[in-house]
Point group: C2
Chain length 408, copies 2
């Protein structure tokens, strides 16, 4: 008997989270075992409110393809953590709702927290007589999921970082006077995305000359000395820092300012670490300093999407649906890099329970030069992931022709 497929998106969006949705939707329509393809609106949280849609309409009007280059999470997202206690009535409620809709396959696209949802639902389901299969499809710009070579979303964000940092490096080099530009890049605990700025460097003493990841303890005095020294060889200095850099006691550098003063509203002043370091350099070295926070653009730039990432994200979506149809549950679609000189990636399955509460950080031996740079191993790892340009179709106004949910 045919069963229905339901898909959901959860956590912060990436440039390709809708590519995984695309892959999953198309595979859902291809599979003989699958009747209808549904999408939860705003993840499991919206589903609990009864909010979902049927992809048939999009299939009929030919707009499914637009998911391949639309940023944001098409289905809407949520940050909803299911209770640790599997005897909580919410589990029964979810399962009942799924059974009512004749769901046989449940695929959830997201990061760590979403894999936690898949883990809990699959574990709860194992104690019932349901045949619903629960599969996780990875996404996160942070690239911090374990048991996979990398995660969909990272390659596009890394391409954005590499291209943008390179453009900023050209922009900042126009004046003769010494200057320091600090680029703050996403990644609270894992420095993968900040490390990607290394790909923008063209020559040995080129920019970004200094790169700081959260994996290495950050010392403010050492930083000032490193900047001063770097300015001797690189007078228009570009420094890339992860938003999550912290000192040896684990205190985030971005919290240093809050010790100092309050803002106009009497609240602790919270600025990014880039802004803090900008003012530190101005104060200590008396030279022009500026900071640029790449912010959400890193994760939502369709025009900067990596073709490799786009293709792989769609494959992961399709692979996840296939796995569910093949009887797998409690698993995540993961990537294995094939051995050999030419980059090639293969999908595989990993136990979602081993993934959901772990965090993959940049290997310590890839962080070099007293924590101011990343190694050639990182370059070899990351470079294939940012390859390829994506053609984003334009609408009649010459802007990107994205797709929204009906009624949105």
């Amino acid at each position: 008997m045919k069963k229905n497929l339901i898909l959901g998106q959860s956590g912060g969006p990436t440039a390709v989270i809708n590519c995984s949705l695309y892959g999953a939707v198309q595979e859902g329509f291809r599979k003989e075992e699958i009747d209808k393809v549904y999408g939860m609106v705003n993840g499991i949280e919206g589903f609990l409110r009864g909010d979902y849609l049927d992809f048939q309409e999009m299939k009929d009007n030919g707009s499914v393809e637009k998911l391949l280059y639309t940023p944001g999470a098409f289905l809407g997202s949520c940050r909803y953590k299911l209770p640790e206690d599997l005897s909580d009535p919410v589990y029964d409620e979810i399962l009942k709702k799924l059974e009512e809709m004749s769901i046989g396959y449940f695929c959830y696209i997201g990061g760590n927290d979403s894999m936690d949802t898949v883990s809990k639902l699959s574990r709860y389901a194992a104690g019932t007589d349901t045949s619903i299969r629960f599969i996780g499809i990875p996404k996160t710009v942070d690239n911090d999921l374990v048991l996979t070579d990398h995660t969909p979303g990272f390659g596009s964000a890394a391409r954005y970082v590499a291209y943008t940092v390179k453009e900023i490096a050209y922009d900042l080099s126009v004046y003769n006077a010494k200057s320091v530009t600090i680029v703050e890049i996403m990644g609270r605990h894992a420095g993968w995305l900040t490390a990607a700025s290394r790909l923008a460097r063209e020559t040995e003493n080129g920019n970004p000359y200094l790169i700081y990841l959260p994996e290495a303890a950050f010392d403010v005095e050492t930083f000032v000395a490193q900047v001063e020294k770097a300015l001797e060889v690189c007078p228009n200095l570009l420094v890339c820092v992860s938003e999550g850099i912290k000192d040896k006691d684990g205190v985030f550098i971005c919290e240093y300012d809050s010790k100092a003063g309050v803002d106009s509203f009497g609240h602790k002043m919270l600025t990014g670490c880039g802004k803090y370091l900008e003012r530190l350099i101005q104060d200590r070295l008396k030279i022009k300093a500026r900071s640029v926070e790449l912010n959400v653009c890193q994760r939502c730039s369709a025009t900067m999407m990596s073709k490799t990432d786009q293709t792989e994200a769609a494959s992961a979506g399709a692979f996840g649906v296939n796995a569910a149809v093949n009887g797998e549950t409690g698993k995540m679609a993961a990537f294995v890099r094939k051995e050999g000189g030419v980059y090639e990636m293969e999908c595989t399955l990993q136990d979602v329970n081993l993934i959901c509460n772990e965090e993959k950080t940049v290997p310590t031996d890839w962080i070099i030069k007293d924590g101011t740079d990343v190694s050639e191993e990182f370059v070899a790892y990351a470079l294939p992931l940012i390859q390829g340009k994506v053609e984003v179709p334009e609408n009649e106004n010459g802007l990107a022709d994205f797709v929204k949910r009906a009624g949105k």
Copy 2:
């Protein structure tokens, strides 16, 4: 007798300032009247130090074409204001140096201050027996030069703003809870670039729902009320503000914070107005608010370059060189939009003395809805300028294949 051409770049870079250089260099090589094509390194300031280059080498190795998509100012830039007093010896010094190099044509690519340089040099030259002609070629993302329909650089920056704001609008709409995202856009005195965010709006109540330019007085209390009201129809609200918004007394909103406190270094706290408004909204409406400063990316994104802007910038460069060869001096290459339905632009010459100390702001009657939006007239004006995608060639690493000065 053949004379040489010298080119210079000055002020902040734009995405297409090197396209104007390209157009000027190529025209220089094409003209029979011109022998060598030189470039001042770091503008008039570097030239005074004797720093210049010969474009022959780039012509020979075929890298001139790369100027068409390389951001930053290839020749280097400066912020150097010539003395008001034309009897200052620096004028004689410059003229002597130019004569020594057999310069017949001097073209300077830049904004307001650069046109001031052209104005002063041409006026000084008029009192001597030199035959050197001085021509200005416009560039500025701010679009604030008078006597021209628009300036090269604006179209690409506007395309960046329109595309990026649209991507951010998709990104911020993923959650169900009400939220406010404030995007801070360049433009200290003129709101052209902030107005370009209007191009990202897809539907009547779509984002960006509120747009504030520096041309209209900004009132913090009115703003809070407008945001609160807007949230009723647009629960994931995107607000675009110009960095230069100021209150009715002319005080910049970004200075409000400095009244409040000092940073960790005992200095006045200076943050952007976006950060200020973010905290204002959090404080007053108790909802999630975030700010994004587009920063220098607006002016250096090669991948976001507008094809129209690229083409026009190159034309302006070529037109400027041609004008000099035709005996013009003290003029700026300017754009006239042809009448009629189809967008078409023509180059013309304007008196640089009438341009250099003026500033073109957004017309008051284009600012509508109590200063929270711009009109359809603006859309009709700006939309043609952002049209067309530019193909940026990639190097062996899959990154943009830009060009740098030899030795840079």
